[in-house]
């Protein structure tokens, strides 16, 4: 199996050279941190990825979780990893010191997650989900709840989940039917069904803590009637003992990929003894859950980019070693075969992968930076970075997910028939990657979120701020030798995006269905323009670094960056033209099409 799954050089380039993570240490929340600490953390994450996670990447796929007598048995690595991530402080890394966290910048934990995901995506989700669930309790739970659950979750003894989906309510959460009946004792009795709950049960943790959406009896219809509950598998009694909480595992699903982590079906309150503890106020559950959901969406993008990274390095290794054919310019058939990396079409496939992987990672770290700034700043600056993060979350979830899948596919293609066989990791990466356009809100939902909600929030303020950010990079590129052409192309793309946005927003008041019919295409357009911006930022830094005439590996690295930037602007950015043409048509083709037209 390929040894390399991420580029440490590229991670450090993005963190230190492009996004200046060290600048965050100016804020008091992050003042104890610095480059030396960040380097050690990344180094430890790389070691854990390599030694602990990567070795079981295939094994966990071949030996998926088993449903045995009402419980889920998982690979023994899960318990080890939960313990290492707990004792190592990874699960609570971002939390404040007083809760046992390390006040680690989100950018650094995001980079660490990228490493873990690339090493073994399935294994990495267990601690990750626990982090998100604990953060939700941290933000909205009572002091008692925090004291009861957070230490056990941060230490990796207890697993956290997010339990939203039901058989009849996936994308449409307003239709959930899980009920919560208030009792005199203060807790609620929960009854209902949940499906597709990741890590919803397993023997790698001593308890499972579900952060669950349910409707309090008599609640209003729609999303305004949803409340958030803590529903433990074993509920802690006042004397510290754990008693079963009537959470039954009805089964697990058999999946295409991402097989090392179970997704479970849960049945709650079959014996009328499932207690849920309300988090925050009644009926505000969905807005609370969106904190975890938004974080999870960025993590999904990160997982997708990470899998594409592992696939890219596996394809690159193969392309350098596999001799096949001769250069087309060579006329002599007696010459030895050349490694396939010498063929322009193979180079194109590799460039595509690198453009997607590094471009996606840059966008995700950009979002992590906005999240950090929103966390530590005040007033207008806080609002600015919060709005930018809101706007870019559906893009940072979707571009890596959709394009990552194509990227892995091209990686697989580099190996030809071998790529399709399980001696090489590409087929698994391809299967593992397929979940990402689906979970935590499908691509369709992300499109609706971007166009229907984010672009118009606060009278379009987020979109305006976004244009300002991108134009800031355009202005710098105009003044940089060799990048002025790229600056012009990106400015042109921005104008097209503005034109399309204005056109679609005009449709909104008249017919919301027509307005949003091609929201997914709009998201695709937005993604390409946004990643072009991220490539321009990388090119700006690479050009500056090359001015200093670096040697050896540094020169190769920065030149490689510039070539990939050129690739993106020459091969990928022009693709928006077709999207713009379609989006400006708005003829309602799909709106008016009827069921009967599909039959034969």
């Amino acid at each position: 199996m390929a040894e390399k799954f991420v580029s440490e050089r590229n991670l450090k380039f993005l963190l230190y050279e492009v996004f200046d993570v060290e600048g965050l240490t100016r804020y008091s929340y992050y003042q104890d941190h610095g480059r030396e600490i960040f380097d050690m953390i990344l180094d430890t994450a790389l070691r854990m990825g390599k030694d602990l996670l990567h070795g079981t990447f295939q094994e966990m796929d071949r030996n998926p979780p088993q449903y045995v007598e009402g419980r889920v048995k998982v690979h023994p690595l899960v318990r080890t990893l939960m313990r290492e991530c707990g004792e190592g402080g990874w699960i609570g890394a971002n939390a404040p010191y007083e809760l046992g966290g390390q006040q680690l910048p989100i950018m650094i934990s995001a980079a660490s997650r990228f490493i873990f995901f690339a090493a073994n995506y399935s294994a990495s989700v267990y601690p990750l989900l626990t982090s998100g669930a604990a953060h939700l309790i941290e933000s909205f739970g009572t002091e008692e709840m925090k004291a009861l659950y957070i230490p056990k979750m941060f230490s990796g003894q207890w697993q956290g989940t997010m339990a939203l989906t039901e058989p009849q309510a996936g994308s449409s959460l307003s239709d959930i039917t899980t009920k919560a009946v208030p009792t005199q004792e203060g807790y609620y009795k929960i009854r209902g069904q949940k499906i597709f709950i990741s890590a919803g049960d397993h023997d790698g943790a001593d308890n499972i803590i579900h952060l669950m959406l349910a409707k309090i009896e008599g609640a209003p219809h729609g999303v305004k009637g949803i409340s958030l509950f803590v529903v433990p598998r074993l509920r802690p009694e006042p004397d510290g003992t754990l008693v079963p909480n009537d959470v039954q595992v009805a089964g697990i699903y058999h999946k295409l990929g991402y097989r090392g982590a179970p997704i479970t079906q849960l049945s709650l309150g079959e014996n009328d003894d499932c207690r849920g503890y309300l988090v925050g106020e009644p009926h505000k559950g969905l807005s609370y859950m969106f904190q975890m959901m938004n974080e999870a969406r960025i993590d999904v993008g990160m997982g997708a980019a990470a899998i594409a990274s592992a696939a890219y390095y596996a394809a690159l290794e193969y392309a350098r070693e596999r001799p096949q054919g001769r250069r087309l310019r060579s006329k002599d058939p007696s010459l030895p075969q050349v490694p396939i990396i010498e063929h322009p079409d193979v180079k194109r496939m590799l460039l595509f992968q690198r453009a997607v992987v590094d471009g996606s990672l840059a966008l995700l770290l950009q979002c992590a930076k906005y999240a950090d700034l929103e966390k530590v700043q005040e007033g207008e600056e806080k609002e600015r970075h919060g709005l930018l993060l809101d706007l870019l979350t559906p893009v940072a979830k979707t571009y890596p997910s959709e394009m990552g899948l194509l990227s892995v596919s091209q990686g697989l293609q580099c190996l030809g028939g071998y790529g399709y066989c399980d001696e090489f990791p590409l087929e698994q990466h391809y299967r593992d990657a397929r979940i990402h356009p689906i979970h935590e809100g499908t691509t369709g939902i992300q499109g609706l979120d971007l166009l229907g909600r984010k672009v118009v929030i606060k009278g379009g303020k987020a979109f305006k701020l976004y244009l300002e950010e991108v134009r800031g990079a355009v202005a710098r590129a105009e003044a940089t030798r060799g990048l002025d052409a790229g600056a012009g192309l990106l400015e042109g793309a921005l104008q097209r995006l503005e034109e399309v946005t204005a056109h679609l927003l005009e449709l909104a008041p008249g017919d919301p269905e027509l307005f949003l019919a091609d929201a997914t295409l709009y998201l695709e357009l937005f993604g390409v323009v946004t990643v072009a911006w991220q490539w321009l930022l990388q090119a700006l830094r690479a050009s500056e670094a090359l001015e200093a005439d670096p040697s050896g590996g540094d020169r190769d690295f920065y030149e490689g960056k510039l070539r990939t930037y050129q690739y993106f602007f020459s091969y990928e950015l022009p693709k928006i033209e077709g999207l713009c043409r379609r989006l400006l048509q708005s003829d309602g083709l799909t709106v008016n099409l009827e069921d009967r037209h599909f039959t034969d």
């Binding site: 600490i37 380097d39 050690m40 180094d43 190592g88 402080g89 040697s551 540094d554």
Partner: protein
């Protein structure tokens, strides 16, 4: 129980090593440096003993400033203090000179045990540990795969592999033990450990600080001189045995093993 761990920084095993134009050294640009893995076993063992008996673990490294990173890693794992012996005059020193500098740095410290790796994975000399023990006049126990301190903390018992068997050695303390693979599984540095490492004391010492004469160190003072470095020979292409039947192929294989490979 106070323990000293000697550590070296070496190129990561995944680094592509290139020989420098002088033919006697390697190109150090683009190298990723790590703590010598055998020394890491020593750090882990020292921490386990400290956790059981209490005391302090001091990590001693030698080399350029970048060695600080490896010392900090050991501090993040749980060691208490670090000493970096650093001096331009040390560049190019041989193993014996390194041992002398280390001895000068540790001889006056209060210690019961010294750990170091059985060898550095870069030069593979395996000389420093034994030399330091000799210069300090304490027992040297090499290739430890199991270390047990007696309850009264006066003696140590070390298992050492020999020809498929195990040699069990008991020694008085203080003693120096060189660590072999199998001794333990080193822990990962924890995030709280990494945060704390920054505030732990790390002292730098020059040759003058240690009362040593710089002329006894460096390339010029080497007793062992490197004449030339050569890369390992490239692996030759494999050969497919031709033949119509298994018998024919077997006969051809036997002939080649006899005549070409000369192993039969």
């Amino acid at each position: 129980m106070n323990i000293i761990v000697l550590l070296k920084q070496v190129p990561d095993t995944e680094t592509q090593i290139k020989i420098a134009p002088d033919g006697k050294s390697i190109v150090t640009d683009d190298i990723k440096w790590i703590m010598n893995p055998y020394d890491e076993f020593g750090v882990e063992e020292a921490l386990r003993i400290k956790e059981k008996f209490g005391g302090e673990v001091t990590v001693v490294g030698l080399g350029p400033k970048r060695v600080t990173e490896s010392i900090r890693t050991a501090l993040a794992m749980g060691a208490d203090k670090g000493i970096l012996i650093t001096d331009d005059a040390l560049e190019g020193s041989d193993s014996l000179a390194v041992a002398k500098a280390i001895t000068a740095a540790v001889k006056d410290l209060d210690y019961d045990l010294i750990f170091t790796g059985q060898r550095g994975i870069d030069d593979d000399m395996g000389v420093v540990g034994a030399s330091v023990a000799e210069l300090l006049g304490i027992p040297n126990i090499s290739l430890g795969i199991k270390v047990e301190i007696s309850e009264d903390q006066k003696t140590v018992t070390v298992n050492r592999p020999v020809e498929g068997q195990t040699l069990v050695i008991e020694s008085s303390l203080p003693a120096l033990i060189t660590a072999q693979k199998g001794l333990n599984e080193p822990r990962y540095a924890s995030l709280p450990g990494i945060m704390k490492a920054k505030r732990k004391p790390l002292e730098e010492k020059s040759l003058a600080d240690l009362g040593l004469d710089a002329s006894e160190f460096g390339t010029e003072a080497r007793k062992v001189k490197i004449l030339e470095l050569t890369p390992p020979p490239e692996r030759a292409a494999g050969k497919i045995i031709e033949g119509e039947t298994p018998q024919e192929k077997a006969a051809e294989l036997a002939r080649l093993l006899h005549e070409e490979a000369k192993v039969l």
